[in-house]
């Protein structure tokens, strides 16, 4: 997998996207900032990647060049060698078709909030940096990180999930949105009627209300799960051990081939 064994062409490609990577990774660290100029030549790119990936501002997203190479190949495959991916490109993933929450997943890729490009709306197309940004949410938490970084990282991951629920970007998961998700989740099973799905969502909402608000004022109204409430609900679940994709794990990457 070292670049040395590849022919010149591939090496060039690698350099190209490493440059991209630097930008992508830099973006990961800076939530508000939109763009940064690409850093130097290919020789320094690799070291930049590493220095960036372990900088404190990027707690849970260390990226290795190997992985980026992988992802870039996949990106090109998906996009048909275009610089950007559009929604239609995801139709080419046959396995994804059977996924009950397929539309939510695809949507998440184009969600501006996840891409850190804005507080709402969808992007029409994403480039490789954006792709990397999305992928970076699924990195395992580095066990050497301190508590604060873990919390930060955890929050990032949860925010991504939250955005999947909160489809209208209003900062709340309303009952309607919740029901929607549950219906989609259960859509794989034809026997489950819509009503069941709804009542489950209702029950879950009810539970969320009691967890988050506890004692409500007489006239209080539970309007939906806010992100803070969402964090509360997730308190018991160690997302850091759950929300990660194994492929993005450095050790196992060699096994993927």
């Amino acid at each position: 997998m070292t670049p040395g064994v590849h022919c010149q062409e591939e090496w060039d490609a690698l350099c190209r996207f490493l440059r991209l990577v630097v930008v992508g990774v830099a973006r990961l660290g800076s939530v508000g900032e939109c763009h940064q100029p690409p850093a130097g030549g290919s020789s320094s790119a690799v070291s930049d990647v590493f220095s960036l990936s372990f900088s404190p501002s990027l707690p849970c997203f260390p990226v290795s060049s190997d992985q980026i190479e992988q992802l870039h190949r996949r990106f090109k495959q998906l996009s048909g060698d275009q610089p950007t991916i559009r929604k239609e490109n995801f139709n080419n993933v046959p396995d994804l078709e059977l996924n009950p929450i397929r539309s939510k997943i695809v949507r998440a890729f184009f969600d501006n909030r996840n891409l850190r490009k804005g507080s709402s709306g969808l992007a029409d197309e994403i480039n490789f940096e954006d792709f990397l940004t999305i992928m970076s949410y699924f990195r395992p938490i580095d066990t050497t990180m301190d508590e604060e970084q873990v919390q930060l990282c955890r929050k990032e991951k949860l925010r991504f999930l939250f955005h999947m629920y909160d489809s209208d970007s209003d900062g709340r998961i309303t009952l309607e949105e919740y029901r929607n998700v549950v219906e989609e989740l259960l859509s794989g099973n034809p026997h489950i009627e819509k009503e069941s799905a709804r009542s489950i969502a209702d029950g879950a909402m009810m539970e969320a209300a009691s967890v988050c608000v506890g004692q409500m004022e007489p006239d209080q109204v539970y309007e939906g799960i806010t992100f803070d409430d969402f964090l509360k609900i997730w308190q018991g679940i160690d997302i850091e051990t759950k929300m990660h994709v194994r492929f993005l794990n450095m050790e196992t990457i060699a096994l993927c081939h």
Partner: protein
């Protein structure tokens, strides 16, 4: 059942013991009428009528004997009698253990059982009776072992198990082998030292001893873990070890026994060793294969048992046992077979069988396994005291030391390797805990006890060493592991059952699989996804009944719901359902004010409902239980009765689906009619619908969580109940809750509230109902109520406060 038969056999040879100390002792312990029974024994024994049928002959054919008014024949019942007493003793010991509830926190249950056994053993020894042959190989393997293993497999948490399956197999499989061979070989080296007087113990015997002593039994540790809520992977490591270790050790044990037998007559060639290794693999894999096949068959059969649900548990048990026996017949590993069988069928069987059968299966399995285990521990205690020991300091000490050393080596080496492949490696603390949890138990003892004396002249020494190791680990490690876990403060998990969590985790599963698909890589989320799809498309269709919509979300949901219902019934409506009572009471007042005649009609409906419930007479069938048990109905009636009594009137109830007894109307959830419903949930909500005829088919849902505010009801009385009408919010059909059945009064009430409070607090209408609502008739759609639970001191708020509002 199988178990009892087995026990009967185990006691079989006692028939030939002239004087029966066993029955005597057990009577002493269990029934407290020792004198009588011993007299009986002696008298019956002295007549030497051993065969049960002789009794009849004696009674009928001896003319010179008079018909005695009072006759005793102990022999006739001796075997089952003693078996029963043994089991009773075991159960009483357990009950006693748990009576003092601080005791279980201090020491594992096995400690107490061993102590009880040792006491019984001491009594036997003290009265100078021969230690009884309590166990033999066929009894252990055929009757005592299977229930224990079955229980382990059946209650295995499938999901975390398969999430960690790589590490578990690596650790449990290889760990057992390393321990067995490590201990065996190092003990062999010790045996070479002439000074210890062990030179007659050969390599094979040492290896065999190593294999039996490496069978750990961390049940006690699991109990500690559960209490301390250690993190899931750690728990699963120990669980997996408990589950698989037995199987591996037994396979190894049997192969080595075969080698030892062979060794008596001829030399062992390298080919034989190779054959042994191959055999090891075949036995294991074959066992698992058999188990899976039988698991599918039994799942398939339970698909057709809906009309005779009483035999469902039987099917489950018999097929598991059959898988064990079938595998054993072919010299495959029955233990692995029965484990695999249980794991395979569990999921499908649970979906197929009725709720009661499911409960029966669970209890029965627990019961059988705990009886087996208890008996083994007690027998272990009994055989501790006696003359069948050979105390060899060197052997025993070195065994103890090597057990710890090799466990440490295997833990740290194997986890070092597996950590390389894990995203979240086991910390050093975790590894220490795993090392420390190497508690030996019933399995090791049984295997040692069953060593054939002809092949093992030093069997007594092996048994003694095994007992020492067990005592050491059970007493010292078992008691200290709890404090150690707390001291080391291992990473904990605070898992609780919640629907939200289940939903989120499901979502995340799909999300991860989706992301992997996008990445184009194949890894274990995808494997799981693929299996699920396969399962869904083929297996489930074949193995489970039609129209059984289940998914883990749905079933968890039902479970929670059921729990809630049960809690409610158990604690009584008044005390727990703090929320429902005030709310109902409040509404009552309003109703009184508003429309007494409506209340009348309500009560009418209510009584009719009750009548319906009772009307369904229970039909008795000798061979079967009705799927709807009478208990459920009784609860139902009870709840309704309580409600009616408590409140002379109530705001209402609903007939959600025109079904017999509003069972579907609960605090917050309802399933469409047709699903098995836990009973008794309906009490919290009393929603009335005068005109439910039109809407009765629709489920109604209410969200309500009112806290107790009984004291404050008076205040509420004076307070104006602000009625409000649900406003259709044009263009914004966001709906929270939908209660399709609303009473007239509520409707009125809402109208008033609206008047008082210009700003509508909400109201969401279900799309389908919007028009109806606007037309303003009684079937207005509606609201769900959300409020925090338990607000003890606060003035309780209205059922009518719309608690959800969408901005």
């Amino acid at each position: 059942m199988t178990y009892r038969v087995g026990e009967a056999h185990s006691m079989g040879f006692q028939v030939f013991v002239p004087f029966s100390p066993w029955s005597w002792l057990l009577l002493l312990v269990a029934l407290k009428c020792p004198e009588a029974s011993s007299d009986l024994n002696e008298s019956t024994n002295s007549t030497a009528q051993r065969e049960p049928n002789v009794r009849f002959a004696a009674a009928g054919s001896e003319p010179d004997e008079k018909i005695s008014v009072f006759a005793l024949d102990y022999d006739y019942v001796q075997i089952p009698y003693e078996v029963t007493l043994w089991i009773l003793l075991a159960s009483l010991a357990k009950i006693g253990f748990h009576l003092y509830h601080r005791l279980p926190g201090l020491m594992p249950e096995s400690c107490l059982l061993i102590i009880v056994g040792a006491l019984v053993g001491a009594i036997i020894f003290g009265t100078d009776h021969k230690s009884p042959p309590v166990m033999d190989s066929s009894i252990y393997f055929l009757y005592l072992l299977p229930p224990i293993v079955l229980e382990g497999g059946y209650f295995m948490p499938t999901r975390p198990f398969f999430e960690n399956i790589g590490s578990i197999l690596w650790w449990a499989g290889l760990g057992a082998l390393i321990n067995a061979f490590g201990i065996g070989l190092s003990l062999y080296l010790i045996c070479q030292i002439k000074a210890f007087g062990l030179s007659d113990v050969n390599l094979l015997q040492n290896l065999l001893f190593g294999s039996l002593i490496s069978a750990v039994d961390p049940v006690a540790v699991l109990a500690v873990f559960e209490e301390a809520r250690v993190n899931e992977p750690l728990y699963m490591m120990i669980f997996g070890e408990a589950l698989l270790n037995d199987g591996i050790s037994v396979v190894l044990y049997n192969i080595l026994i075969a080698f030892t037998k062979m060794h008596k007559f001829e030399d062992i060639e390298p080919v034989d060793i190779l054959a042994g290794c191959a055999r090891f693999v075949i036995v294991g894999v074959g066992g698992v294969f058999f188990g899976v096949i039988f698991g599918f068959i039994s799942a398939f059969i339970t698909r057709f048992t809906q009309n005779i649900s009483a035999i469902e548990p039987l099917i489950v048990f018999m097929f598991s046992y059959l898988s064990y026996l079938a595998a054993e017949t072919l010299y495959l590993s029955g233990i692995l077979a029965i484990t695999a069988c249980a794991v395979t069928m569990k999921k499908y069987v649970e979906e197929n069988v009725s709720q009661t059968s499911y409960t029966t299966i669970k209890y029965f399995m627990k019961m059988l396994s705990s009886v087996s285990e208890t008996l083994i521990f007690i027998f272990m205690g009994v055989s501790t005291v006696g003359k069948n020991h050979e105390w060899n300091w060197a052997f025993i000490c070195f065994t103890l030391v090597f057990c710890q050393i090799w466990r440490a080596i295997s833990v740290f080496a194997l986890f070092y390797v597996s950590n390389q492949f894990r995203t979240f490696p086991f910390s050093i603390k975790d590894q220490c805990i795993i090392f420390y949890s190497g508690v030996r138990g019933a399995g090791s003892f049984s295997l040692a006890f069953l060593l054939p004396l002809s092949l093992f002249p030093r069997k007594k020494m092996f048994v003694t060493a095994t007992l020492v190791v067990i005592y050491f680990t059970v007493f010292i490690q078992g008691i200290t592991i709890g404090p150690l876990v707390r001291y080391l403060d291992v990473k904990k998990t605070n898992k609780k059952e919640s629907i939200n969590e289940e939903l989120h985790i499901r979502l995340m599963d799909h999300l991860k699989a989706g992301i992997e698909d996008v990445c184009g890589h194949w890894s274990h989320y995808q494997v799981r996804d693929k299996f699920k799809k396969f399962d869904h498309r083929y297996l489930r269709k074949i193995l489970t009944r039609k129209n059984q919509p289940k998914s883990s979300i749905v079933s968890l949901y039902k479970k929670l719901e059921m729990k809630q219902a049960i809690e409610m019934v158990e604690t009584g409506i008044l005390s727990t359902t703090a929320f429902s009572v005030p709310c109902q009471a409040q509404r009552i007042h309003r109703i009184k004010r508003l429309s007494p005649e409506d209340v009348e009609s309500m009560r009418d409906i209510l009584t009719r409902n009750m009548y319906q419930v009772r009307q369904r007479t229970l039909s008795y069938n000798k061979y079967n239980l009705k799927p709807q048990t009478s208990e459920k109905q009784a609860k139902e009636i009870l709840i309704r009765r309580q409600n009616t009594l408590r409140e002379s009137m109530r705001k209402g109830h609903s007939l959600p689906w025109g079904k017999p007894a509003g069972t579907k109307n609960i605090r917050y959830l309802s399933f469409p009619y047709g699903h098995p419903q836990p009973a008794g949930r309906d009490t919290r909500v009393a929603e009335l619908t005068d005109n439910d005829s039109s809407d009765s088919e629709l489920p109604s849902i209410m969200f309500k969580a009112h806290s107790r505010a009984g004291i404050l009801q008076e205040r509420r009385l004076t307070q104006e109940i602000i009625p409000m009408k649900s406003l259709p919010r044009g263009g914004k059909p966001s709906h929270f809750g939908y209660q399709r059945n609303t009473s007239q009064e509520e409707h009125d009430g809402r109208g008033r509230r609206e008047a008082l409070r210009p700003k509508p607090l909400f109201h969401a209408v279900d799309e389908e109902f919007e028009s109806g609502e606007e037309s303003g008739e009684e079937t207005s759609a509606i609201r769900s109520r959300w409020s925090g639970e338990h607000r003890p001191t606060r003035q309780h708020h209205r059922s009518h406060s719309p608690l959800l509002q969408r901005k």
